[in-house]
């Protein structure tokens, strides 16, 4: 699949997190930035966390991109990976994973949109507004990488 094919009306971008908890707001910040750029042709949504009805939402699309903060240590400050249905066991509805939402969609609606997770590394999770400087750098890198890879028609970078 050519990277730019993700930029279509059949793609949904879902930002997950809480902007009142510092770096936990990066999922929203990412989506809000993409919305402002106006070059993204798909639809976008914000979520505090994924819920079971999001299986009903994503069934309408061919591609889904979940964006969230992560505590994982990453090389580039973010990671991009394919999301497979129901791969992981859930321990808390506070953390309904993209995989479980996709698994539900597959089981209930017999649809498995091709899905990806963009995890952006954060450091500060306290109750306050504003992303930390270090996380902001990761967010900017993730935005740059995403735009170059998927929103810029003039470049075709191998997936």
């Amino acid at each position: 699949m050519r990277p730019v094919e993700l930029n279509s009306s059949r793609t949904v971008l879902i930002g997950i997190g809480n902007s009142s908890r510092s770096d936990d707001g990066m999922g929203w910040a990412f989506v809000e930035d993409i919305e402002k750029s106006s070059s993204f042709k798909g639809l976008s949504y914000l979520r505090y966390q994924l819920q079971i009805e999001d299986a009903d939402l994503i069934k309408e699309f061919d591609h889904v991109i979940f964006v969230d903060s992560t505590q994982e240590i990453t090389e580039a400050g973010y990671y991009w990976k394919e999301c497979k249905p129901g791969d992981e066991i859930e321990f808390s509805t506070h953390a309904l994973s993209p995989n479980t939402v996709l698994g539900l969609c597959e089981q209930v609606y017999k649809r498995t949109p091709r899905s990806f997770i963009l995890g952006i590394q954060g450091y500060d999770w306290e109750l306050k507004e504003g992303i930390s400087d270090k996380a902001r750098e990761n967010l900017d890198n993730a935005l740059k990488g995403f735009k170059e890879r998927f929103l810029d028609d003039s470049q075709y970078i191998a997936a």
Binding site: Y48, Q71, E90, S92, T100, L104
Partner: protein
């Protein structure tokens, strides 16, 4: 050798918690604790903000039930703006009530389908990889689909009144921000992308029938599991009916004697205080007159049905009669009956939403009232999980100087600890081996309370799971770490 078994965290509840079980040298459970590790600090965070921001800011407390906090805060700032609940316009009150019923309906749907159904469908000893909602969908696709659509219905009600699902503005000081439009009302009254409210009533009735049938086949463990005597607290109308938005506070003891006799919510502080324990960040509310040991109460669906004399809607009232008659019209202290009670409440919410949606006056444009500023405001509602208290004080400029929040799960803190102790003694006493099914039973007891332990914290990989076993000299002898997400 004593062993301390740790279950960390509790699975499939909102946020996370930690359970420690302490065994004596004979392997008998000596004690068990439910530790709340989250420290929120929201009460300090909101100080210094203007009072009118409170209903917006508190939504960020919890991504699971932001509407409950929004409405409780709204009622409090109404009072600061000089208005009591009866002073609001009828349209504004109906819209707030519709919002609240939508919220409770979808929250209860989420709990039943996502949290409780794996326990009920797959049993106490089901393997861990089976105890999740994807397996529910595999084994009963129709049940899963209905659960998703019932959640969606409630979320769409919230969106219609608040403007959007996240950071919506519904309540403002003295009323609401937006009316309901006719096309929005019709979306809920007719079948379309969203099923109608009539379908919601039908499906909820099916769910109530399911739980009753399930109970008939499994009454022994449902009646006995994690059952213990307790007080119960909830709101009621002046007629003693179940009430979720605006009512009087009633509490009863385990035998049904009133311990709080329909008092005005503005007087809550005369009757309640909060205890602390060194092993938990969460407090332990109790009735002053009865002390720490006897004054604590359960809250939530089971407690609410126990304190209420009746329900104002016909189908739910019929179910309440059957529910109460099962325990001989005495308070039900069977923790697992919370699931049954929760579904009866869902039916009540669905019936109330129908009444409000069929009432054309909900389309009115008389949305706001004005009053004279007061220095203090109290807002108490019944959130899905139980009684929720918001209390603010402001200075002359309207800046919040003091905030006291008692969230629903805090009221249930003692009850959850009692449940953990009960189950631990029953399933872990003198056992030479601990199975995952046994550990899951402790969690089943906690999940029945539908606790919400954290506040909208969600980041991939944020909550690693850890289990620790200590010997009698507190040496770590077993450690297990599980990654989430």
């Amino acid at each position: 050798m004593e062993r301390k078994i740790v279950i960390d965290p509790v699975t499939r509840v909102e946020g996370h918690g930690r359970v420690t079980v302490h065994l004596d040298k004979q392997g008998k459970v000596e004690n068990a604790f439910f530790h709340i590790v989250e420290f929120r600090g929201f009460e300090r965070f909101i100080q210094g903000h203007p009072y009118w921001e409170a209903p917006l800011l508190v939504q960020r407390l919890c991504g699971i039930c932001p509407v409950s906090h929004h409405l409780a805060a709204a009622k409090a700032i109404d009072q600061i703006a000089g208005l009591d609940p009866e002073d609001l316009s009828p349209t504004a009150t109906k819209l707030r009530r519709l919002l609240h019923f939508g919220q409770v309906f979808q929250s209860h749907a989420l709990h039943f389908f996502y949290l409780a159904s794996p326990d009920l469908l797959f049993g106490l000893d089901a393997p861990r990889e089976k105890r999740n909602v994807v397996e529910v969908a595999i084994s009963n696709k129709e049940l899963a689909k209905k659960g998703i659509l019932m959640r969606k219905f409630g979320q769409e009600v919230i969106k219609a009144i608040a403007g959007k699902k996240i950071h919506g503005i519904a309540a403002v000081p003295g009323g609401v921000h937006k009316t309901l439009f006719e096309d929005e009302r019709q979306e809920f009254l007719t079948e379309g992308d969203i099923p109608s409210v009539y379908t919601m009533i039908t499906w909820t009735k099916e769910m109530v029938d399911f739980i009753k049938s399930y109970h008939n086949q499994n009454y022994k463990w449902l009646d006995e599991f994690a059952s213990f005597p307790s007080g119960h607290l909830g709101l009621v109308t002046p007629k003693g009916e179940l009430e979720l938005y605006e009512g009087r506070m009633r509490a009863i003891d385990a035998d049904g004697n009133k311990t709080l006799n329909d008092v005005p919510t503005d007087d809550y502080i005369k009757y309640f205080t909060e205890g602390v324990e060194k092993w938990s960040y969460m407090k332990f509310p109790y009735l002053l007159d009865y002390g720490r040991d006897k004054g604590w109460n359960r809250v939530g669906p089971l407690a609410r049905l126990n304190v209420a004399d009746r329900i104002s809607t016909p189908l739910a009232q019929k179910e309440l009669e059957e529910f109460k008659s099962y325990s001989g019209n005495k308070p039900c202290n069977s923790t697992m009956h919370s699931h049954w009670a929760r579904l009866i409440e869902m039916l009540y919410c669905a019936e109330e939403m129908k009444i409000l949606l069929e009432d054309e006056s909900i389309l009115g444009e008389d949305l706001l009232r004005e009053g004279t500023r007061r220095p203090e405001g109290i807002g108490i509602i019944e959130a899905p999980r139980g009684t929720l208290i918001h209390h603010y004080q402001v200075d002359k400029k309207g800046m919040i100087t003091k905030c006291n929040l008692i969230v629903s799960t805090t009221h249930n803190n003692e009850a959850m600890n009692q449940a953990v102790k009960w189950v631990s003694k029953k399933v872990l006493d003198k056992k030479k081996e601990i199975s995952e099914g046994m550990l899951n039973q402790v969690e089943i007891a906690i999940r029945a309370f539908d606790p919400c332990l954290s506040c909208a914290t969600h980041a991939l990989g944020k909550m690693p799971l850890k289990m620790e076993v200590f010997d009698s000299e507190d040496r770590l002898i077993l450690e297990k770490e599980k990654n989430t997400l």
